[in-house]
């Protein structure tokens, strides 16, 4: 059994069997992470470069831990302080790094499609760690893995994705992943933050009413407002957004059932999610982070194992 793809550029290119294989592998890596020695020697002959052209805390640390716990050698690169500021192109930068015998690339870039472009020019496996407003596949995988862990399955579950759908790569990857696994998905947020034709294009329900959607769902994945990607104001103020679409204790208490709260981080506390909810028993936010390492180990393991074929 192996993945049907040579790179993880997005969830869009994955089959359901691929996602299930990743989960099945991640289950065993999760066990490895509970051991006294949380490390296996599988990728000891593999060198991986983490190319981060955009800021990151969680994803970057998570990938680095995943790589190290697989026994790989790790090189880190961030755009600030590199020759990118001297005008070097993406292909030149990457080819120079690869000529130093690097076997895999993990890349985050603010330009949509950057890893897809790169995959046409280099021979080694690429893992997309977020490209612009397109996809963030490992986040979607760890989100679905966390839902599966919490609720036993993803198929048939009702998942709400709340907030800035327009600018969120987490939203798009989540939609592809959850739909592929047979979940029902509703996106909810202000009309200015939800692209048109979502229903026709992606088969998700669209709602502008947060209470109604939370009442419907089993899980709410609350997204961060991506102010850095909004060129023109799309709502009048953060305070107004928070009042209309923020998820808080009062709102959750008014529902007739308990729902699971997720957030991909970083949280803007008091904007999309209040602190008392983020830190409550409903929240599986820290489980998501924990699962992130196991899921990324699975992705790296499965891609590295395809290298020679």
């Amino acid at each position: 059994m192996s993945l049907s793809v040579n790179h993880l550029l997005g969830i869009r290119g994955l089959k359901r069997q691929d996602i299930e294989l990743i989960f099945q592998t991640a289950d065993q890596f999760k066990e490895v992470l509970q051991r006294p020695i949380k490390k296996v020697p599988t990728l000891r002959d593999t060198t991986i470069v983490n190319l981060f052209f955009e800021n990151s805390t969680r994803t970057r640390i998570s990938f680095e831990l995943a790589e190290k716990r697989l026994g790989a050698d790790v090189v880190n690169f961030s755009a600030s302080g590199s020759s990118v500021s001297k005008g070097e192109t993406l292909i030149d930068t990457v080819n120079n790094i690869l000529s130093m015998k690097v076997d895999m690339v993990v890349m985050r870039h603010s330009a949509t499609g950057a890893p897809h472009f790169l995959s046409k020019h280099i021979q080694v496996p690429i893992v997309n760690a977020g490209d612009g407003i397109n996809e963030h596949p490992t986040q979607a995988l760890l989100d679905a893995f966390s839902i599966r862990e919490k609720l036993g399955a993803v198929t048939g579950k009702k998942i709400a994705i709340c907030g800035d759908i327009m600018h969120s790569r987490v939203a798009l990857s989540n939609i592809y992943c959850l739909k592929q696994l047979g979940a029902e998905v509703t996106v909810v947020g202000p009309p200015t933050l939800i692209p048109k034709h979502m229903q026709e294009a992606l088969g998700v329900n669209v709602s502008y009413d947060i209470r109604e959607t939370l009442e419907w769902c089993d899980v709410a994945n609350v997204l961060r407002i991506q102010l850095e990607r909004q060129n023109t104001p799309l709502f009048s103020s953060l305070r107004e957004y928070s009042l209309a679409y923020g998820v808080n204790r009062q709102l959750l208490d008014s529902l007739k059932k308990e729902i699971v709260i997720m957030h991909p981080g970083p949280i803007n506390r008091g904007v999309e999610l209040s602190s008392d909810v983020a830190d409550s028993g409903h929240s599986i936010i820290l489980n998501q982070v924990e699962n992130g390492v196991a899921v990324r180990m699975a992705v790296l393991y499965l891609l590295a194992g395809k290298k020679e074929h």
Partner: protein, 175 residues
């Protein structure tokens, strides 16, 4: 296809291996049995259950280990292996560990299992129990301490241990 051990012979052999274990391990207080995934666990289950019958009331520590992440042929052009469950919920520190597998062939699986096991602690001693020992095919200096049956088979032949729980009936065949 040739039958090496029939169902009855498998049962007799498992009984004998259990008695040999009891001879060496007494009350099993300092012993842990570890079955190797994926196929060794069927023999390990059988050994464990038989020991429980022979020694009622004695607590025997029993786990399973998967060696996928410790293989020496990762990325060597072979098909990728899907990992199985590892379940060792006890300490193996200073215990006598008995690794259990169905067939001892090249010795490479056992080598990987030794590596995997050491990530859980430092046992005082490690032994190997196998149902079938394929002689003259070893690629590493590894031998079994308890053997069900020694056989001579050439590399092109496939030795298969079948279990009731998985394959419908017990036997060992060569094809």
């Amino acid at each position: 296809m040739k039958t090496i051990l029939s169902g009855t012979q498998v049962a007799i052999t498992v009984d004998r291996l259990c008695h040999q274990l009891i001879e060496n391990h007494g009350d099993f207080s300092q012993t842990a049995l570890i079955g190797l995934q994926p196929r060794g666990i069927y023999l390990a289950d059988r050994i464990y259950n038989t020991l429980q019958k022979l020694l009622p009331g004695v607590k025997i520590q029993y786990g399973r280990i998967d060696i996928t992440f410790y293989r020496d042929d990762f990325n060597k052009g072979k098909a990728l292996h899907v990992p199985n469950e590892t379940a060792i919920d006890f300490s193996i520190e200073n215990k006598k560990v008995v690794l259990i597998d169905d067939v001892l062939y090249t010795g490479r699986t056992t080598r990987s299992a030794l590596d995997a096991m050491l990530d859980f602690g430092r046992p005082s001693a490690v032994e190997l129990l196998v149902l079938i020992d394929r002689r003259f095919t070893r690629e590493l200096p590894i031998q079994a301490d308890y053997t069900g049956r020694e056989i001579d088979a050439v590399n092109s032949e496939n030795v298969k241990v079948r279990w009731k729980d998985r394959d419908g009936h017990d036997d060992v065949i060569i094809e």
